[in-house]
């Protein structure tokens, strides 16, 4: 091979290697971007939408030292859109549904102390604004897809104890599992803060609700709207 051709080949090779070396640091992040699926995603149209919701729930109020309360509750929610709803009424009835923790007898047995009668919750009602920022799906054991949404509630109401009514505010978070267009399950936790005589106290509320979505067909997304051809 002619020496000038060898020199030319070497020049081209060195140039190519340099170009490779220079381009490496810039190429690596680009490749990472390609792999970072978290930044590249598609958000599908919702399969389930709520309209007028009626529910029957079971609740558990665990934080009272003397009694653990169970409650039966119901609510009506009007859903304005995918993001906002108004829980017009939420009513929880816990009268006669309490279980003695045994603390009273412990106080009596250990120290011969009789606790002053702690008032029990009879029922409560409240009205809440509901924000539904999260909607998605999850897999159960990688084999079944479950659609769900997460919501937050904030509202005001009142709690009726044996002795008196107390105004209360509440905040909560919950998760809805869609069973069908019209049926869903709600799991939620709420904290009620009420103003009692001489202070502020609170009630923690765990609830499981069975919900019916009335007039669901009015909100149902048609396949054509989702871009699916029949």
């Amino acid at each position: 091979m002619h020496p000038s051709r060898i020199r030319g080949f070497l020049k081209v090779s060195v140039g190519f290697i340099l170009a490779m070396l220079v381009s490496l640091p810039f190429r690596a992040p680009a490749q990472e971007d390609d792999l970072d699926q978290g930044k590249v995603f598609a958000i599908q149209a919702r399969d389930y939408r709520m309209n007028h919701e009626f529910s029957l729930s079971m609740a558990f109020l665990p934080l009272d030292a003397f009694y653990k309360f169970f409650a039966v509750s119901g609510h009506y929610v009007v859903h304005f859109n995918d993001l906002w709803a108004w829980e017009a009424i939420h009513f929880a009835f816990s009268q006669y549904l309490d279980v003695d923790t045994g603390l009273k007898s412990e106080l009596s047995d250990k120290w011969d102390a009789s606790a002053t009668d702690t008032p029990r919750i009879d029922y409560s009602f409240d009205t809440n604004l509901m924000l539904k920022p999260l909607y998605g799906k999850m897999t159960l054991f990688d084999s079944l897809i479950v659609y769900m949404e997460t919501y937050f509630v904030l509202g005001v109401g009142a709690e009726k104890f044996e002795t008196a009514w107390f105004p209360a505010g509440n905040v909560g978070v919950g998760m809805r599992i869609f069973l069908s267009d019209t049926l869903s399950l709600r799991f939620e936790v709420r904290e009620y803060v009420y103003l009692e005589e001489g202070g502020v106290d609170s009630t923690l509320y765990f609830g499981v609700g069975f919900c019916y979505n009335a007039f669901a067909e009015e909100r149902k997304v048609k396949k054509e709207e989702k871009g699916v051809k029949e």
């Binding site: 699926q37 978290g38 995603f41 958000i43 665990p62 934080l63 030292a65 003397f66 995918d82 993001l83 923790t101 603390l103 106080l107 250990k110 120290w111 102390a113 920022p133 999260l134 909607y135 998605g136 799906k137 999850m138 897999t139 159960l140 054991f141 990688d142 084999s143 079944l144 897809i145 479950v146 769900m148 949404e149 997460t150 923690l204």
Partner: protein
């Protein structure tokens, strides 16, 4: 000529062998349910360390506020072993305890042991994995899991720095609960836990108290 024939045989064999594996792979990602295809998980865990905050609300005489640290080995998508979750809590007297101490001279603070240290070892069953759209703008990946295992509790009426261990209780119990994890990135996630320990045995007193000690935890986890 012989080399060319040998190469051709190799090529045909490799094609034939590759077909079943490709089919198997296709099978594994195929639609497994009537509801639609199930995607591969974007975030998977291996060895996880978490650190966070703990709240123990159930003791009628003291509310515990503390910190917890855990190490978890994830075997696969469904099962993990929380090798240890240790925590320390600072206990604040409840109104009831204050009233008892104020109004009854016979009552001693030594009679109210509260959880100071705890250790849990749990199997974790990762039931659900999913993703949610936040305000229809971004995607949040999460999982929901259940836990079951054993727990050791050290209960003492006084803070550990007081050095008074005369009324301490060393207890064993069964621990169970639920939790949810939300991923920020493949390495970092945030966990919410709700656990309950049923105390079954006190080693140094020889009694069987059957008491509940519930814990609410919030922690940050890193996948190492």
């Amino acid at each position: 000529m012989r080399t060319a024939r040998f190469s051709l045989v190799l090529l045909v064999m490799s094609v034939l062998l590759s077909v079943p594996s490709a089919r198997a792979q296709e099978q594994s990602y195929r639609e497994k349910s009537a509801y639609g295809p199930i995607q591969r998980r974007l975030f998977e865990l291996n060895h996880e360390i978490s650190i966070g905050w703990a709240y123990l609300p159930l003791d009628p005489f003291a509310k515990g506020y503390g910190a917890q640290l855990s190490y978890t080995i994830h075997f696969n998508h469904f099962i993990a072993l929380e090798l240890f979750r240790v925590g320390w809590t600072y206990n604040r007297d409840s109104k009831l305890k204050t009233k008892l101490l104020d109004q009854m001279p016979d009552v001693s603070p030594a009679e109210f042991p509260a959880v100071v240290f705890f250790e849990n070892t749990n199997l974790i069953f990762k039931l659900l994995y999913g993703k949610q759209s936040l305000f229809n703008r971004t995607v949040v990946h999460f999982e929901v899991y259940a836990t079951l295992g054993g727990a050791f509790l050290f209960r003492n009426p006084y803070p550990i720095w007081d050095g008074d261990l005369n009324n301490a209780r060393y207890e064993f119990g069964v621990n169970g609960g639920f939790g949810a994890r939300f991923w920020f990135s493949p390495r970092w996630s945030f966990k919410i836990d709700l656990r309950d320990t049923v105390v079954m045995l006190c080693f140094n007193r020889g009694d069987f108290p059957l008491e509940n000690s519930a814990l609410v935890g919030f922690s940050f986890a890193v996948n190492i």
